[in-house]
């Protein structure tokens, strides 16, 4: 297909010049001049015209490249002809990506046994995968925008920490309790926001997240306030501690103790919890309750006309999402051994929500990929030091331009007669409340 003839060279240069000029004005003060307080308190400054010139040149060149790319790509909505062989290959790759990712995840502790950093990062990524999958029930399936998800994470973490330190209950007893308590809080949040939609719902959930955090900070006698809770027991392998000593797992197995054992155990623990979340969510989607969640996202009025109790449907979505958040919170507490309100700020809610949105609302694989991109990518850019946030933000913006509906931009039907065909997310609604 020949590319349609776009505007000429003069147009491209003019556009690039304008962009460069804007960049020059914007960056002349931000990058061109650097100020700092001198040793005696006076203001000293020095110029960085070299950096400024490089920046403007980059914008100029980038603008030309963008325009050329746009002309090559053609107008919006142009259908690109992809050879069938390539299409088939892509389809296979798409189907293979989930199992390959899963097998790789299982092998991570084996491959990177001696690299503590990678294992810790893996645990962190999996924690966010689990949180993303939990929030996906509320935001992706039921279409209820929740900006206070971290509240349930906090409830789970503090439930385990307080039950374990005060009553000496084990992790495996506390885990379901933390989930149940978080689910109760999910219902408590759900009740007042039943009638709210869209922006209003988002604001109230945001406030809920802050309320929980402020209560934790100020209820010093119970939660220890800003000092947090320390000395939280480490998890045990069903009663066998992963510690040195005669009772420890290593002693019983007759192998030498290594602190890595605990890290590997934690890795598989969070992997199991995340996979449980995934399995339950996939099952629920195929049950009437899951279909009702998605129908609620699509059209609440039609749901009521079909006799669906929208109140209980919304509350179960909140409760289910909160329960998984609670499990993740209990895991977080046992991994850290110390928790404080600082870990449960709005930043965390925003990050988890970004993972869900970036992944493609409702897509399990998308959320996993997005968590890997967001958490892993953020670590990847560590070498860039002060420019890390800038590059990361830019990457996010480009990603959303490239895939406005998230990494996985389609939803899979929950039931089919002959063949399951993916539905483009452009048809699916995002939900208004």
């Amino acid at each position: 297909m020949p590319a349609p003839r776009g505007p000429g060279v003069a147009f491209i240069f003019k556009k690039a010049l304008i962009s460069a000029l804007v960049a020059l004005v914007l960056f002349s003060l931000m990058i061109g001049i650097r100020t700092e307080a001198g040793p005696n308190g006076q203001l000293i400054y020095w110029t960085r015209f070299g950096d400024l010139a490089a920046m403007v040149a980059t914008v100029f060149g980038g603008s030309i490249v963008m325009e050329l790319l746009r002309q090559w790509w053609g107008p919006v909505g142009t259908v690109k002809v992809i050879p069938p062989s390539v299409q088939a290959g892509l389809a296979v790759a798409r189907r293979a990506i989930a199992p390959v990712l899963l097998i790789f995840t299982f092998l991570v502790p084996v491959i990177f046994y001696n690299q503590r950093y990678i294992l810790d990062l893996g645990i962190l990524v999996l924690t966010y995968v689990m949180l993303g999958w939990g929030l996906n029930v509320v935001v992706g399936l039921a279409g209820l925008l929740d900006l206070g998800y971290v509240a349930f994470y906090a409830v789970g973490a503090y439930s385990y920490a307080l039950l374990a330190t005060n009553f000496g209950l084990s992790f495996w007893v506390c885990l379901p309790l933390a989930g149940i308590l978080a689910a109760c809080w999910g219902v408590m949040l759900g009740f007042p926001v039943l009638r709210l939609r869209g922006d209003y719902l988002a604001i109230v959930t945001l406030a809920f997240g802050e309320i929980i955090r402020l209560v934790i900070i100020n209820w010093q006698s119970l939660t220890g306030g800003p000092n947090g809770v320390s000395g939280i027991p480490r998890p045990t392998l069903f009663g066998i501690p992963l510690a040195p000593g005669p009772d420890g797992l290593s002693a019983r197995l007759g192998i030498e103790f290594s602190p890595t054992h605990r890290i590997v155990f934690l890795f598989y623990l969070i992997l199991a919890l995340a996979l449980l979340t995934n399995w339950v969510t996939i099952r629920l989607r195929r049950l009437p309750i899951g279909r009702a969640w998605e129908a609620l996202r699509e059209d609440e009025v039609a749901c009521r006309a079909l006799g669906i109790n929208t109140t209980t449907t919304k509350l179960t979505a909140f409760a289910t999402g909160a329960m998984f958040g609670g499990f993740a919170g209990a895991f977080f507490a046992t991994r850290q051994g110390f928790i404080s309100p600082e870990s449960f700020t709005f930043q965390e809610s925003a990050l988890v929500l970004a993972i869900v949105v970036l992944g493609g609302m409702g897509s399990q694989l998308g959320v996993a990929l997005a968590a890997l991109t967001m958490i892993g990518g953020f670590e990847l850019f560590r070498g860039l030091e002060q420019y890390r946030m800038l590059v990361f933000g830019l990457a996010m913006v480009l990603l959303m331009i490239w895939r406005p509906r998230g990494l996985i931009g389609h939803r899979a039907p929950t039931v089919f007669l002959r063949h399951s065909q993916a539905i483009s997310s452009e048809l699916a609604r995002e939900g208004r409340g």
Partner: protein, 277 residues
């Protein structure tokens, strides 16, 4: 009022602030019959529908739904989803309200929500995949397939509802309402936007629903060919009040109806009025 009416609307009024949308309206819909509610734009037909199906809370009056076993339900005492769940009144919307991002089959599965919820033991039995749940799910799929066949959409079962042509969406919405197994089916302008051939197909579908399921139908419609062809009883509204009712033939010849309806064609209306009095 007939003793075998499925729905008896009695002195129904609906006010929005100072505006009286429906004023002291009484009519009955007979069991197993098709009752049409017609009237010019703004006559208050959809408001009546919204009162019956619980989307509005009526200002005054009663709406009694009598099931075949003699059980009577006062609709004004139920709200939103309970009208569909307990009174088994289903409805469609003037502007189609399907779930566009779900497949045609999924749309029909969502309609069977309450039956499936019971079968899945409020999710718990379903979560472990018990055989009783799987059988119930299979029955639900069979029912949905049956309805897809009836509306001629079985080969598009796995397509997104939002991708279907307009006429198919209209029929799918009716099928979805029928999947709730209603005693009374309320259709809000089902023929709107359909061409003549599609309208004829719709008439056939509605007649077959009445014949095969004994479902009573209450219908708002502007397309007079559909109304005259399939209705057993017609209620005419204008400015929130009932101005006439009777068989299609009676209504068609009623001078008040002609005056209200053919407002554009005043000369003829006046001529009919003068001829009548």
């Amino acid at each position: 009022m007939s003793s075998d009416s499925i729905l008896a609307v009695d002195h129904l009024s609906m006010r929005f602030g100072g505006i009286v949308a429906v004023n002291d309206l009484s009519f009955a819909a007979e069991r197993g019959k098709i009752t049409a509610l017609i009237g010019p734009n703004g006559a208050g037909k959809t408001t009546v529908f919204n009162c019956i199906t619980g989307f509005y809370r009526r200002t005054s009056g009663t709406m009694r739904l009598t099931h075949e076993d003699g059980r009577a339900i006062q609709l004004e005492r139920l709200n939103d989803f309970r009208i569909s769940k307990q009174a088994r009144v289903a409805r469609t919307f003037q502007n189609i309200r399907l779930f566009p991002g779900m497949t045609a089959l999924e749309n029909l599965m969502v309609a069977q929500h309450n039956a499936l919820m019971r079968a899945s033991g409020l999710t718990l039995i379903g979560l472990i995949g018990a055989p009783s749940w799987r059988a119930a799910e299979k029955r639900a799929i069979d029912r949905a397939t049956l309805w897809l066949d009836r509306i001629g959409l079985s080969d598009r079962a796995d397509d997104a509802a939002g991708n279907l042509p307009y006429g198919d969406q209209r029929r799918l919405e009716i099928a979805r309402a029928m999947c709730t197994e209603p005693a009374l089916l309320c259709l809000d302008e089902p023929a709107a936007g359909l061409n003549a051939r599609e309208s004829a197909g719709l008439s056939e579908l509605l007649l077959s629903i009445r014949a095969d399921h004994g479902t009573s139908i209450l219908l708002i419609e502007h397309d007079m060919s559909v109304v005259m062809e399939i209705s057993d009883h017609v209620v005419v509204m204008d400015y929130g009040v009932k101005i006439a009712e009777g068989t299609p033939q009676q209504v068609r010849d009623d001078p008040r109806v002609i005056a209200a309806y053919l407002g554009a064609d005043e000369q003829e209306a006046i001529a009919v009025m003068e001829g009548g009095t």
